[in-house]
């Protein structure tokens, strides 16, 4: 029998990736797996004697993908060698927690890697992560903001940047509820940096005393929980992918804070968000799950003239240098920031 001692591991990233893919693609394709184009690091296992590819595991930032071993090594502990290396790569790169999606039927394999299940959709997909202790710590920290018996609402914002539309949504929630928790999407892939977005949201809601602004995390609309959110060009967003994010909110975040209502704006413009609202409603409330349902309130978007106010409109106007038009769409604090950071030549 082939032993995993006859295996040599290597890590490829950056410039070496392209040539390695020539070998990886057919290896995965032969086992009915697609090669994910976003993978930045691959751990490869080759046979030491004749340098055949025996297994691989990829990393797309903090998400492990494309894990596969060749049939002859499946009982030889190769999977755990790959696991060790890919986990070390992820943790060394500075990520606090690592994630992976897998078919429901493969959960056991990854539990053997030390991963725990966060959410699962029976028969379909499971979402697992490595550091359960870090996650429990995060949820525990949220619990400090919990108010028993208070009608609690929540809003998740990217706010790129914070507009009068966001302000309207927060104001309505603030009127309806005793307390409102805002979460800011942490991923730094927007025109405005995470820190700038956070500052503008805090300034923009500072007068609303029952509103608490939380920092974002890996566990709420992130690259890990909702990769599709950050790929605006993809017309068809995978329903399962956005279901995971909705279930994360319902199972962990909402119970920690006692949230019973989540607010979103209607979405006439953006396909990703429109689809997200439909899936969000289903998985927050009607989908059978052992956690209490969270009601989704979809508020009609605030308009300015005939068009809805949107952050993407503001970004277009910044590009066009039309500051007068921006003034009508954003609160003074956001406007001041845009004027200050985008007018110097």
């Amino acid at each position: 029998m082939t032993s995993s001692d006859d295996i040599t591991l290597s890590v490829v990233k950056g410039a070496g990736l392209q040539s390695a893919l020539a070998e990886i693609r057919p290896f995965l394709a032969a086992r009915d797996l697609q090669t994910d184009e976003n993978i930045d690091t691959f751990v490869l296992a080759h046979t030491t004697a004749d340098h055949r590819l025996a297994g691989c595991a990829g990393l797309d930032q903090n998400v492990i993908k494309c894990v596969c071993t060749s049939e002859e090594f499946r009982d030889a502990g190769l999977s755990l060698k790959l696991a060790t290396e890919v986990i070390k790569c992820g943790l060394t790169a500075g990520y606090d927690d690592l994630f992976l999606y897998t078919k429901y039927s493969n959960i056991r394999l990854f539990r053997g890697w030390g991963f725990s299940t966060l959410v699962e959709i029976p028969g379909a997909v499971a979402f697992l992560h490595y550091d359960q202790a870090a996650f429990e710590h995060y949820i525990e920290a949220l619990r400090a903001f919990r108010k028993e018996g208070a009608l609690t609402g929540s809003i998740v914002l990217n706010a790129n940047p914070f507009t009068n539309g966001h302000r309207y949504l927060v104001e309505q929630a603030s009127k309806d509820c005793d307390i409102v928790h805002i979460f800011l999407v942490k991923e730094d892939v927007s025109l405005f940096s995470y820190q700038d977005r956070l500052t503008l949201v805090r300034k923009g809601v500072a007068d609303l005393k029952n509103v608490i602004v939380h920092e974002g995390s890996d566990y709420i609309i992130s690259h890990a929980t909702f990769p599709g959110y950050f790929l605006k060009d993809r017309a068809a967003v995978n329903e399962q992918a956005s279901a995971v994010d909705a279930l994360m909110f319902r199972r962990y975040i909402a119970p920690a804070l006692n949230v019973s209502v989540r607010y979103v704006g209607t979405e006439p413009l953006d396909k990703t968000t429109a689809m997200y609202n439909v899936v969000l409603r289903k998985f927050l409330s009607t989908y059978p799950c052992d956690s209490k349902p969270v009601e989704l309130k979809e508020l009609e978007r605030k308009t300015c003239g005939t068009a809805v106010i949107s952050a993407s409109r503001v970004r277009e106007l910044i590009k066009a240098g039309n500051f007068e038009a921006i003034k009508e769409l954003v609160p003074p604090s956001t406007f001041e920031f845009i004027r200050r950071t985008h007018t110097q030549s």
Binding site: K81, T84, W113, G114, Q132, A133
Partner: protein
């Protein structure tokens, strides 16, 4: 030794243990342990970990241990190696020899 970065040692392979030591804002040890033999040896494993940390003079750290049935001496060696790496200490004296 002072933990200033993430330090790792070991593997997830059978009879080994993967130890990750990382900085902790508070001055205490936050240990999380997963072990195949938690029921039988959980306390002995915790003791091996905390004794090794104490011997290395580590008072503030997050310590994540994934045990796949490692022997006591393996656990101690892996914890010690992870601490050296987490402290970026190149002057290694394994087993506390001087």
């Amino acid at each position: 030794m002072k933990v200033i970065q993430k330090g790792m040692a070991g593997t997830l392979e059978s009879s080994d243990v993967l130890v990750v030591v990382s900085p902790n804002d508070a001055d205490d040890i936050k240990l999380s342990l997963q072990s195949k033999v938690e029921k039988q040896y959980g306390n002995a494993i915790r003791k091996a970990i905390s004794e090794t940390l104490a011997k290395c003079g580590v008072t503030g750290a997050k310590v994540d241990v994934r045990d796949q049935g490692a022997l006591d001496c393996v656990i101690r060696a892996r914890v010690e190696a992870a601490v050296y790496r987490a402290a970026d200490e190149k002057n290694v004296k394994f087993g506390g020899q001087s």
